[in-house]
Structure formats: C-alpha cells, structure tokens
C-alpha cells in the first residue's frame, strides 16, 4: 500500500502519509475538545445554580425547603402539568386518529388548522383570554396551555400512525377484537412511544411555562421564583425553588429521550405496504367537524379575536402604543435573538459534528449536555445567569451578551438538532468518493460536507432566532435596564391591563411564530423531525 502510494505521489509518500494521519488525529482531537468545552459552557447555568444553593447558608436552604408554601407550589405545578398532559394526550391522539384513519372531509385543511395554535405563543394566547374573558387561575392556565400544547401530541402521533402497520388492526379484528380494542391492542403499542414522548414534551413546556401562569395569577413554581427574586428579594429561596424545578425538568427530559429511543426501535421492524382503507364516519362526521371547529375557535379565534378588538378600538387611545417604541423594541428583539442564535450555533457546531460523525460514549455525553437547554425552564436559566454574572463576571451583568448567552443555552437542542441532521444528510460515501478523487479531509469538508450541509444549518439558526424572539422569563430577568423586547413589552402592558397597548405586540409575536410553526408542522408530520427540535 505504502509503496503504491509512493509511486503515485512521485516518491513523496514517505513523509506525506504519516503527516496526514497526524493532522487527521489532531483535527479529531480538536473537534472533540471543542465539543467538551461547548458542553461545559452549556452546563454553566445548572452548575452555577447548584453552586449557589450549596454555597448558601444551610439554615436558609432548609427553611426554604421546609416551608409549607413549597409543598403548595409543588402540588399546584404538578397538578397543572398532569391535567394538561392527560388532556393533551387524549385530545391529541383522537385528532391524530381522525386525521389519518378516517374519511373525514378536508383532512389536510384540518391538519393545518389543528397545528395553527403553535403559531400563538402561549402567553399571547393568555393575553387574549384575559382581555376578553373572566377566566383566571387554574382553569385559565389549564385551558390556555392545553389549547396551545395539543399539537405537540397530535403531530408526532400522526407521523407514527402513518408509519404503523394498519394491517395489524385488521388482523386483530379477525381475531375477535372490537374496533376500539383492536386500536388499543394492535395500533396503540406502535404509536405509544411517539404519543408519550409528545406528552412528556407538553409536561416539560407546562412545567417551564412562566408567562401564562403569571398572567393567570396561578401559583406555580415559575411565577413564585420570579416573585421571590423580583419583589421579595429572597435570592436563596428563588435558587432553591429553581433547583427543584430544574430537577423535575431533567427527569422529564430523560423520560422523553427514552420514549423517542423506543419509537425509533419500533419503527424499524415494520413497513406498511397496502394503502389504508379509511374508516367511514358516516353520520358521526358532522359532530366531529363541530368538535374540531370548536377547538380551533378556542385556540385561535379567542386570542386573535381579542387582538382584533383592541387593535380596532380607538377609545383606548390614551394607553395605546407609540409606533416609535414598537420599532425600538423590534430592533432590540431581532438583534438580541440574532446574537443568541449565533451563540447557539457556536456551541452546537462541535457538539452536532461529533454526534453526527464520531459516535462514541463521549459524543453521547456532550449531546445530552445540550439537552439541558430543553430541561431547564427559561426562568431557571435566567436566574442562574443573574447570579453567575453578578458573582463571576460583573461587567456582563444586565448586558445583552448575558441575555444572548441565555438564549444560546436555552435553544441549543434545536441548533444541535439542525447541525446534526444537516451533517447526517451528507452520506459518508460522498466523502469517501471525494477522498479517492484526491481531496484532503479539510478540502472534503469545505467542498462537500459543508457545501451540502450549510443550507440546513442556516435554516436551523434562523429558526432558533425566530424562537428566541418569543422568549419571556429569562429576558425579563437578564435584559439591560431600559431595553425591552416584544415579549417583555407585551408582558408589561398586559400586567397593567393596558390591553390596547399590548395588542400590536401580540400581533407581531404571532407574525414571528407563524412561519416556523407552519414549516415545521410538515416536517414533524412527515417524521423528519421530532417536535422539540422544531418548536
């Protein structure tokens, strides 16, 4: 082999071959090292939160943990999470079944309509409900969060139903099962991991939700943390509560990862061949249309209707917004979110590359570190970074850099997903061919891999930016004094019941959210992406 290469390279092979190997190893080592650094940076918020709690006066920590209020908050939070999750599971699976297995007219249109609530950030929906209905407290939070979160179950379940083998259900019928039993025994096991992973994601989002519970005045952890830090000036209590919340989030993410793995294993064993024979709904069709219509009304018409009402009203002119402020807020929102997206990309590139190309135990660890962004609620990351910047880098306290860093950590899973998927889409065979055609590994990377992967990565970064523009709780804690984003302005106006002033912000936020929501609905339904990567 060496002698052949010597001949081909005109005698320079002796020094050439070893040097290239050394360089390759060096590149690999550098890549792995940077992925470890990126994972460590992503772990800063969690690590510093733990440091802060451990470093506090133990008596204060014990006192905080043992307060009766802690139990009340835990019960409230868990109760809301469970209520929303179960409702979303039942409604989501039912809608998914109706849209894939029946002859319901206009299924494609209904699919878009049922996914549209994703385009309304939940605190914007909460604004709508508060502005036009007297609903508050548990039921307020429950209704708004359920309506906003059902698509997280519906969409992956549709993808799993399309993959599942419907002939199983026919066989189960011939073996003595009624239609419902056949679904539960033959089809449900095939879609269960996808549906439950969706439900766990819903649970995670409800656990982390700040805007809705705060606007609805529902005593959950996120709102309590905000008040404990903001108005009660009790940072230790806030830190203890944030740690409890973080632990719950991590547990949910671990469970969600397990479910996705189970779905991936199931998905490889069966391929559905024959086309589905749709179940005729017959005379039930009209009330199914009615029920879907009612859900769409509640999820879309209420918030959008509230918007229309306040934007159209001129009587509230005294509190209405000044266009100048709206533009200023828009500029700061876009620039901070853009910086955050670039931050996320910087952390995601080494982690995603290692995950896509070097599969070993280490890559598993660095990739799971990126999922901290999914597990940690925005309020937790915000709080931890406030402590971190005050203590470690006071120069950055309340600078947009700290805020961009928070966005980078929070949206890292999406960025890693985009990088990983884009790189994996480049077949290794292509790289091998390029090598045999005389390109060095670096040239292969720039001429082939990066060239094919960059549009996907770029789209991923844009999506991260669009998602970051809606972020509320971390922004409230970390934004520089006097700077507002669309989300914080909406929050301020809604809190002081200045609905007419809040309406244009709500409209802008829906405009920001609608594009990724519609684009990614398609990809989730096609099974190309998991919902937490998408939305």
């Amino acid at each position: 082999m060496t002698s052949v290469r010597t001949l081909m390279t005109g005698g320079k092979g002796f020094s050439f071959v070893p040097r290239r190997r050394a360089r390759l190893r060096l590149g690999r080592a550098f890549l792995i090292a940077s992925s470890i650094v990126a994972a460590a940076v992503a772990a800063i918020p969690l690590a510093y939160l733990v440091v802060r709690v451990v470093g506090s006066d133990p008596n204060l920590v014990t006192a905080a943990l043992l307060r009766g209020r802690m139990v009340e908050l835990a019960v409230n939070t868990v109760g809301l999470v469970i209520a929303v999750s179960i409702t979303a599971l039942v409604v989501g699976v039912a809608i998914a079944w109706l849209l894939t297995r029946t002859d319901l007219a206009g299924r494609k249109v209904w699919l878009v309509i049922t996914a549209l609530p994703l385009a309304v950030p939940s605190y914007v929906a909460a604004f709508g409900w508060i502005a036009v209905t007297p609903l508050r407290g548990f039921w307020g939070a429950f209704v708004v969060l359920t309506l906003c979160n059902v698509p997280f179950v519906t969409l992956p379940t549709i993808a799993a139903l399309r993959l599942s083998n419907h002939a199983n259900e026919d066989v189960a019928r011939t073996l003595g099962r009624s239609r419902l039993r056949a679904f539960l025994e033959a089809t449900w096991p095939q879609i269960r991991p996808a549906a439950l992973a969706g439900v766990l994601l819903v649970a995670l989002y409800v656990l982390a939700e700040f805007g809705t519970v705060a606007l609805m005045r529902y005593q959950a952890f996120t709102w309590a943390i905000h008040t404990a830090y903001g108005s009660q000036f009790n940072p230790t209590l806030a830190a203890v509560m944030a740690t409890v919340l973080a632990a719950m989030g991590i547990a949910l993410v671990v469970a969600e990862r397990r479910m996705r793995g189970a779905q991936a294993r199931l998905g490889t064993t069966v391929v559905a061949r024959a086309p589905v024979t749709p179940v005729p709904l017959g005379r039930h069709a009209w009330w199914v249309h009615g029920a879907l219509g009612l859900l769409a009304m509640l999820g879309l018409a209420v918030p959008v209707g509230a918007l229309a009402r306040y934007i159209g009203s001129t009587t509230a002119a005294s509190t209405s917004v000044r266009p100048g402020a709206l533009v200023t807020d828009m500029i700061s929102t876009v620039s901070i979110a853009g910086a955050g997206a670039l931050f996320a990309l910087a952390l995601a590139l080494p982690i995603g590359l290692v995950a896509a190309r070097i599969r070993n135990r280490l890559s598993g660890v660095t990739e799971s570190a990126s999922y901290l962004g999914l597990a940690l609620p925005g309020i937790v990351v915000g709080l931890s970074l406030v402590f971190f910047s005050l203590k470690v880098v006071p120069a950055l306290y309340q600078s947009i850099w700290m805020l961009a860093f928070a966005y980078g950590v929070l949206f890292l899973p999406k960025a890693v997903g985009a990088v990983r998927a884009s790189i994996e889409q480049v077949e290794p065979g292509l790289e091998d061919v390029a090598r045999t055609l005389g390109s060095s590994p670096q040239r292969v990377w720039s001429r082939v891999t990066a060239r094919i992967a960059w549009p996907g990565i770029g789209a991923g970064v844009l999506l991260v930016a669009l998602t970051a523009m809606k972020e509320l709780p971390a922004t409230l804690l970390l934004r520089p004094t006097g700077t507002d984003t669309l989300a914080t302005s909406l929050w301020r106006y809604t809190e002081s019941s200045a609905y007419a002033a809040a309406a244009p912000y709500a409209l802008m936020l829906i405009a920001v959210a609608i594009v990724p929501a519609l684009l990614l609905t398609r990809e989730v339904v096609a099974g190309k992406r998991s919902p937490e990567e998408a939305l």
């Binding site: 002859d103 083998n165 002939a167 199983n168 026919d170 066989v171 189960a172 019928r173 011939t174 073996l175 003595g176 099962r177 009624s178 239609r179 056949a182 025994e185 033959a186 096991p189 095939q190 199931l266 490889t268 064993t269 069966v270 391929v271 559905a272 061949r273 024959a274 024979t277």
Partner: protein
C-alpha cells in the same frame, strides 16, 4: 364442515363499485385462489369476506350462516375468519408466541395451543423472538399460525408471498399448503401470480375489473380458458388470426388455417363460428415443437430464431414466422442449443383453441 358461499357481491368505496356481482363457492377444506391483475378488486373481495368492508349488495355465507347480506353485517371479530395479510403484519410489540396467542383467551395465550401451532409451522424454536428478528418467510409462517390459532372456519391469505424472493417463495408456498391441508381449513388466497394460483389452489377464480371471468380447477382454467384475455393472462399464449373450417357449434372439433398451416382446433365454450369465418387461434408456448431443418417434424413451417431465454430445465425461443406480424414464443426443453438468426422448423403438437373474431376486431 365449513363451506364458503359468496353471492352476487357488489362492493366498493364511495359508491364507485370495485366488485360488480361476484359469486362463487369454496367447498370445505379446499383452497380457492382468487386470481386477477392489480386493480381487479381481489383485495376488496377479501376485505368483504373478512367483514372489513361492507358490501353494497350480495351476501357472504359460511355453512348457511349469513355473515353479510341484506340487513346483516357480522363484525369481523365475530366471523371466525382468520387473515394473513400481505406483509404478515406481526404485532411488532409482541414476541412470536404473543403474536400466535393474540386471538386466544388470556389464560391460553402462552399455553400449549400456540406452542403446538408453532411446532406445526416449524417455528417452535423461535417462540421468544421478536418479529424484527425474523426473516420474511418466518414471519409468514408465524402469521399463518396466528390465523389458525382460533380454529377459524376460513383463512384468508392476501398476496402472502409477494414480498418474498423467488427462491424462498416456492418453499413457503409448499409449507403453507401443507399446513392448511393438515388443519383441514377452508382457505381463500388472493394473488396476481398465476403460478401461485395454479400450483396451490384446488379451485381458481379469475377476477377482472370486478367481475368473475371463470371459476374452475387449475387444469380447467389452463386448458379451457373462457377468453383470449384469460388465455394470455394465465400461462401466456400466442394468438394467431386464421379462418375456421368445419363444425359450427361450441366445442366442435375442426381446424384453423393460419400461417402455421392447417391446425386442428376446437371452438372455445360459448363460441360460434361458421366455415370460412375469421377466428383467433390460441396456442400455448409448449404446444409448439421446434426442431432443426434436417429433421423437420411433420407439417412444419420454417421460422427464424430471434431470441432465446434459457432457464435450465427449459427455454423460451422467440421466433419470426412468415406471414405473422408479431413474433411468437415457443417453450422447448433445455437440452438443445439454438443459434440466433438461424432457420428452424416449427410445428404444432396438439389441438389449439379457437375464438370467433369479434366484429370490432375484423
């Protein structure tokens, strides 16, 4: 005893009938093959029998028990009909034993019965495997055991072997046939593969465009096809224009004058032709004898070899005949080497089948 009767079934989706009046009977313990090209309605027929589709008209009866008919529609779970779908459709979340026991009462699901069935299909050693760990043929055997576990009156097989590769298919077919025979179960097999239908079935029903073209034993279907289309669909046939001589009624013996000479032939069932009228002569590829020019069979004509497809045991020789626009195919034993573009002598071994020319074709 369980005899299946399908009576004048009309069925389809959204009012567009896919089946337009299909009737046939399968006697107890026999295997019927429903043979038809894709889109002929054979899968719909299967779903109607299983109760997964409701027929618009007609009835499905097993041993006098009406399963589907006017104001009757027994749901599939109470029909006692087993189903082996195209891709086996094993439950991916259950192991092999769990799949076979699925239709049994809870207490028997992992008991002797499913184990005996696995023994019968030769899968006893795989009881605890998951479906993803089985090969295609193994999955089908498990699917068959699962369908037989509830002692059904009837087993339906929906193109069960189409996903298998050719080498495996013949084996699995033979095994399935043997298991069904041993279980003495009446079965309906749906297929578009004529080899499968002819080699496995006791009765073959040919379906085209939602209508039954012919029902009969494999030998009847092959020897006396009811139409030119059927002759070509089952077994392949060459159709040659000619003129009829002698006897005028169906079944009458006579001869056809065509580019191959005056060939003895018989009028197909239901066909009428008078002397001197145009007919189509249908011959099977194996009815042609091909030989060297130096030992020509009696009554032979000279043809040119255009192509040879060699299969080992036999070969198909494509020939150009003088006075014949289309090349014709002859199936011959594989013990002779044929040179391309050489001249050979061609004769007809046995009587052909004649169909009167439809006026549209004249």
């Amino acid at each position: 005893m369980s005899e299946l009767q399908v009576r004048k079934v009309v069925a389809g989706y959204d009012g567009a009938p896919v089946l337009r009046g299909v009737s046939f009977t399968v006697p107890h313990g026999q295997l019927a093959a429903v043979l038809g090209p894709s889109g002929s309605g054979k899968s719909t027929l299967l779903r109607v029998i299983a109760g997964l589709n409701t027929p618009i008209e007609g009835a499905v009866v097993i041993d006098g028990r009406v399963l589907a008919g006017p104001r009757v529609n027994v749901p599939p779970e109470r029909r006692r009909i087993g189903l082996v779908p195209q891709d086996a459709a094993l439950f991916p979340h259950l192991d092999v034993l769990g799949n076979v026991g699925f239709g049994l009462p809870r207490s028997q699901r992992r008991g002797d019965k499913p184990r005996d069935l696995l023994e019968m299909v030769g899968m006893a050693d795989f009881a605890l495997r998951m479906p993803g760990e089985l090969s295609g043929g193994q999955r089908h055997r498990v699917a068959l055991a699962r369908a037989l576990a509830t002692d059904p009156d009837l087993v339906l097989l929906d193109e069960p072997f189409s996903a298998l590769d050719a080498a495996l298919r013949a084996d699995v077919r033979a095994q399935v046939r043997q298991v069904l025979r041993r279980a003495e179960t009446t079965a309906v097999l749906v297929t578009h593969d004529q080899d499968e239908a002819l080699s496995m079935a006791d009765v073959v029903a040919v379906l085209d465009d939602g209508r039954l073209i012919q029902v009969g034993t494999p030998a009847e279907i092959y020897a006396k096809p009811a139409s030119r289309w059927l002759a070509q669909f089952v077994g392949g046939a060459l159709v040659m224009p000619g003129t009829w001589a002698e006897g005028a009624a169906a079944g009458a013996a006579g001869s056809v004058t065509c580019p191959l000479g005056a060939i003895p032939a018989r009028l197909a069932d239901g066909e009428i032709a008078r002397e001197g009228e145009a007919v189509d002569l249908v011959l099977r590829p194996e009815q042609l004898a091909v030989d060297d020019l130096n030992s020509p069979p009696p009554g032979s004509v000279i043809a040119m070899v255009r192509n040879v497809a060699y299969f080992g045991h036999d070969a198909v020789v494509t020939l150009d005949l003088p006075g014949c626009e289309q090349p014709v195919e002859a199936r011959v034993l594989g013990d002779h080497v044929w040179q391309l573009d050489s001249e050979v002598a061609v004769a007809v071994r046995s009587a052909g089948l004649a169909f009167a020319r439809q006026p549209a074709n004249v």
